[in-house]
């Protein structure tokens, strides 16, 4: 936590029992670009908008989706710099586990560890909460998993969800699909990718192209990977 000059927490309760700093952090998340995740029977897909504020940006280098272990990755909505801190800590925790036990950490444990860090920053001295919600996608002995971690440190497992600007609309879109008979309990990864891209479109202004969105999957081979721009283009073309 760097130089800690303060002994007191900056996140304190107000009279009605709310932690306003956490609510403000959720506002920061809601300002971030939309990210959608869907868990299929044989894998998980996460997609996000990667809009560059200017054509001068070299977008190839920018990544919003980060692998944490070979079988797990994360995407965020909110402050990218805060996300990078969490990625770094999660990676270290995961590798420490691997060093001790010789196996990849199960996704739920990894998420719990990350959520613990997030919670610590809501109660420790001199720091502010993380301004990100994180979607973690992974495949372990228990199958595919999609988890969300909030700035409060709460973690939830989802079949499908969205975070960031327009998340309410996107979640309604996902719910509509579920009530229209599309079962999230019974979906292949390929279908999930299509649904995720369609849901993402509800929150993206302008056209979705291979360079302004990012897609990552983890399937039953347990390898988490970010799709190349060519692969993304293929999925966009199929959707037309």
């Amino acid at each position: 936590m760097g130089d800690n000059f303060f002994n007191f927490s900056l996140t304190t309760f107000n009279r009605s029992g709310r932690l306003l700093q956490i609510e403000y952090a959720l506002n920061a998340v809601r300002n971030g670009k939309l990210s959608v995740g869907i868990r299929a029977t044989d894998g998980v897909v996460i997609v996000t908008e990667k809009k560059m504020p200017s054509v001068l940006f070299d977008s190839k280098d920018v990544t919003k989706i980060e692998p944490i272990t070979s079988s797990c990755g994360m995407v965020f909505a909110g402050l990218m710099a805060d996300f990078r801190v969490l990625v770094r800590r999660s990676r270290k925790t995961a590798q420490t586990y691997k060093l001790t036990y010789g196996e990849n950490q199960p996704i739920r444990e990894l998420v719990k560890g990350t959520a613990r860090v997030v919670q610590e920053y809501t109660q420790s001295g001199g720091v502010r909460p993380f301004g990100v919600s994180v979607l973690a996608a992974g495949y372990d002995d228990d199958g595919p998993h999609l988890y969300q971690i909030d700035p409060s440190g709460v973690y939830i497992q989802w079949k499908a969800t969205a975070i960031g600007k327009g998340d309410a609309n996107a979640k309604s879109d996902l719910e509509r699909r579920a009530t229209a008979g599309i079962s999230f309990d019974d979906m292949t990864l390929d279908d999930a990718i299509h649904h995720a891209l369609q849901t993402l479109r509800t929150g993206v202004e302008g056209e979705m192209t291979r360079s302004n969105i990012q897609v990552a999957v983890v399937d039953s081979t347990r390898k988490f990977r970010v799709l190349s721009e060519e692969e993304v283009q293929d999925f966009l073309d199929e959707a037309r």
């Binding site: 036990y101 010789g102 739920r108």
Partner: protein
């Protein structure tokens, strides 16, 4: 340090079963025998038994530490630890104390999910070896190794495994002053663990 209290143990693989045999002597200062019922073999879950050969106090402390780690793992991960993960964890634990080690040389007998046996042993700072047939540790290491090399055959059923383990252990400890004074054998099978105490020479 490893010879202060005395010990002998063997882990051997059979067909869909694994067995561990150990002596029960606790000696003092390489001289007196203080106990003939000192436990050095511990069943940590349905499919893992660890045998700890070496300094008695470290045997007991390490056993408690291992139980602590197993319990926490089970609570956090909501699943049993596999023998492979256990072995890796034990090696890591021992190496953490590289410059002030536990004077214990463990042997691990485990049964994987698919019923295949898992065997490993390591030195007191956690350098692991795994084998397909058998591993030994103790003050009569050479004697144990020799006996196992002679009597071991692959794919023994649990009865043959029990016989072989018993004969190997008894013969080896009879040629070592610091081990013996009782013996116990445990066989892990997919149906459960069978434990037998052997009547042996009390000298």
């Amino acid at each position: 340090m490893m010879e202060v209290n005395g010990s002998a143990m063997i882990v051997m693989a059979g067909k869909n079963c694994v067995g561990i045999a150990s002596d029960r002597r606790l000696g003092w200062n390489k001289q007196m025998t203080v106990a003939c019922d000192f436990q050095k073999v511990f069943q940590l879950n349905d499919r893992i038994i660890v045998g700890l050969a070496g300094l008695g106090t470290d045997v007991q402390s390490l056993r408690n530490l291992l139980r602590f780690r197993m319990n926490l793992y089970k609570l956090r991960e909501e699943r049993e630890m596999s023998p492979k993960a256990f072995s890796a964890m034990l090696a890591s634990l021992l190496y953490e104390k590289r410059f002030g080690p536990y004077f214990v040389e463990p042997v691990v007998a485990g049964l994987n999910e698919d019923g295949k046996p898992f065997i490993s042993s390591m030195d007191f700072i956690g350098a692991p070896t795994s084998a397909e047939d058998f591993v030994v540790q103790g003050t009569c290491y050479s004697q144990l190794h020799g006996m196992c090399e002679s009597l071991y055959r692959p794919d023994m059923d649990q009865n043959a495994l029990f016989e072989t383990l018993s004969q190997c252990l008894q013969a080896a400890v009879d040629r070592d002053a610091l081990s013996g004074w009782g013996a116990e054998v445990h066989i892990i099978t997919p149906e459960g663990t069978y434990t037998r105490t052997l009547k042996s020479r009390q000298d």
